[in-house]
Symmetry: C2
Subunit: 358 residues, 2 copies
């Protein structure tokens, strides 16, 4: 708790959360907004909690800390949904990969996948395979967050898209070109497809368990899908993301599924084809172009995250222009990518307030 907290308004009996309503394509009295990476370094209280952990994975594995930072932006920035503080790479250690987050460098996988034999040995190939026991700290984090939220706003769970998660497993970390992953894809497609299939199976079961444990919505972050051209995306990534969406929707039809990818404007219609309830847009797509091309799809986004460096009156003016474009369409407001660490919380708050019309 800090002095900055926005007082929580009481929710009347039968209150319908604008975020869940808009995500399912239903009209809302007030537009909902959340911010990718909203539980993050731009908040002083996040940095305070982060400092108490020797490394990032330890932080992710501590349910009380997770529950604390997940709720911070709800009370300090006024967003309409919380998103569980975690990482798309938490699947790697239970799959046998030696993952480390190196300060100032990012994720490093010390035993990256290099051949078909190693991929064949991974779990995920059989019906019923899951790694959920090893991820029980995530589910405990969900339960404790819900105890903090008390139904005030919905909680979003998430996982990475199989193509994106595979990139870290094969490259051994972040990569500018994904040349090793694409090398596997082009040179040994059978091994590549085996890896993606296993990731799709495990991810589906992981997301379904998040919903069972209390997540109210689920996001698939396929951050690097935009490294693929449309033809390769359809062959090498889309079928696996689609398998996940289908499995989750079959298990929990009323839980909205959001798909997000960065830097992939030429894949927009392929993303719409995934069957997710909401398709996230980065700022490279104009909202009205997306609306015209796909009149029945709910979208999320898409203010350029750099816009939050502008003076507050400019942020307000830009949101007002975007509101003209959105009109009465159900829409989930967000940035086009994650909020940057150097952004002032006041500017994040100004964005949220402008969306709300406050």
């Amino acid at each position: 708790m800090t002095t900055h907290n926005i007082p929580r308004v009481e929710r009347p009996e039968g209150y319908k959360h604008p975020f869940l309503e808009a995500a399912m394509g239903r009209p809302t009295p007030r537009p909902p907004v959340w911010i990718m990476r909203q539980a993050g370094r731009y908040l002083a209280d996040y940095r305070r909690v982060r400092k108490t952990f020797p490394n990032f994975l330890e932080f992710c594995r501590t349910p009380d800390a997770v529950a604390e930072v997940t709720v911070q932006p709800v009370d300090q920035v006024g967003v309409d949904a919380a998103i569980l503080f975690s990482d798309i790479l938490v699947l790697l250690p239970p799959m046998g990969l030696n993952l480390e987050f190196v300060e100032g460098e990012g994720p490093v996988v010390h035993n990256p996948l290099r051949d078909a034999a190693t991929i064949a040995a991974l779990p995920g190939g059989n019906v019923g395979d899951d790694i959920n026991v090893d991820l029980s700290y995530v589910f405990e984090g969900i339960r404790r967050t819900q105890a903090n939220l008390q139904g005030y706003v919905p909680l979003i769970g998430f996982a990475g898209g199989p193509f994106t998660v595979a990139s870290y497993m094969v490259e051994g970390g972040s990569s500018k070109e994904l040349a090793k992953l694409k090398g596997l894809m082009y040179a040994d497609p059978a091994a590549y497809h085996m890896l993606l299939s296993k990731l799709a199976n495990l991810t589906a079961s992981y997301l379904i368990e998040q919903a069972r444990q209390g997540a109210n919505a689920l996001t698939i972050m396929d951050s690097w899908a935009g490294y693929l051209g449309p033809r390769d995306y359809r062959e090498f990534a889309q079928p696996y993301t689609q398998r996940i969406v289908k499995a989750v929707k079959a298990a929990f039809p009323e839980i909205p599924v959001i798909h997000y990818a960065n830097g992939a404007p030429s894949l927009l219609s392929d993303f719409v084809g995934l069957g997710a309830d909401v398709v996230g847009l980065d700022w490279r797509v104009e909202l009205d172009d997306a609306f015209k091309a796909h009149p029945h799809q709910v979208f999320q986004g898409n203010l350029d995250p750099s816009y939050l460096t502008a003076p507050i009156e400019k942020i307000r003016a830009r949101v007002a222009e975007m509101k003209q474009v959105v009109g009465n369409r159900p829409h989930v407001w967000n940035l086009g990518h994650g909020i940057m660490p150097h952004i002032s919380p006041d500017h994040a708050r100004a964005f949220v307030d402008a969306v709300h019309g406050d």
Copy 2:
């Protein structure tokens, strides 16, 4: 000269270079191909020359070395055009910026632009301003390269797009998000526009001088344009690139101008609107989509550079499929982005041979 050199075929009197013909939209008996970054680290002879210089800028400033490495891929890989070995940032020192290429890190600008006063003090604001005297080493490199080429293939000169060059001047180096440049753009648009206007003026005069000194074609590399959404691109980048294209075409109507940007599929029709003779595509756009949307535009590209890691027979098969799509259309073959340092020259050669049908 190495033992790998492909013997030069004699050019008959009045020979029409397929690269120049296709670039101007005229049919060619054999499809032309060149490779972005073809004079680069994947060639052992390039690495041999590079090692003799203490730093990258010194290398760029030595006309004999430039002429040598520029011609290497013509004789070793068989490409149909040479592109002058240089860098888009050579404009920075004559403009008063302290540029250094730091080994393993890339370009660093030690006195990045931060305010309107510094931008106002830069050259480029008046008619006739140029920095060509300080860039005489580039023109000498063009003359010596032409002496090596002896008319065997055309020579491409190039410069960076104003938005991309400005990004290094403001960020102080490479950047993942261009947050400082966008900060200037959104917070102080007048200063931003002054900078871009100056860069457009100086770049136009620089490219025109390259043509006067013997360049047979010119490329504008606006590598980071894809960081902008369409609306921002039209307001903050396109007018300046357009000014350059117009000035160059007015001075040299018969010299083809190629525009290239990476990762910007949502800006394709804006690039077509620039009036360049050739629009470069990265691999995120399917050729047939581009052809259908813009039937009268000549395009360049666009094999995924990672595809050169695949076995040679797969490269051949992929090019054969692409040839079905290109048909008899004038087209400039290339990768969708620069060739990567770890690619085998044999695979580069296989790509070129496959395009030629050899």
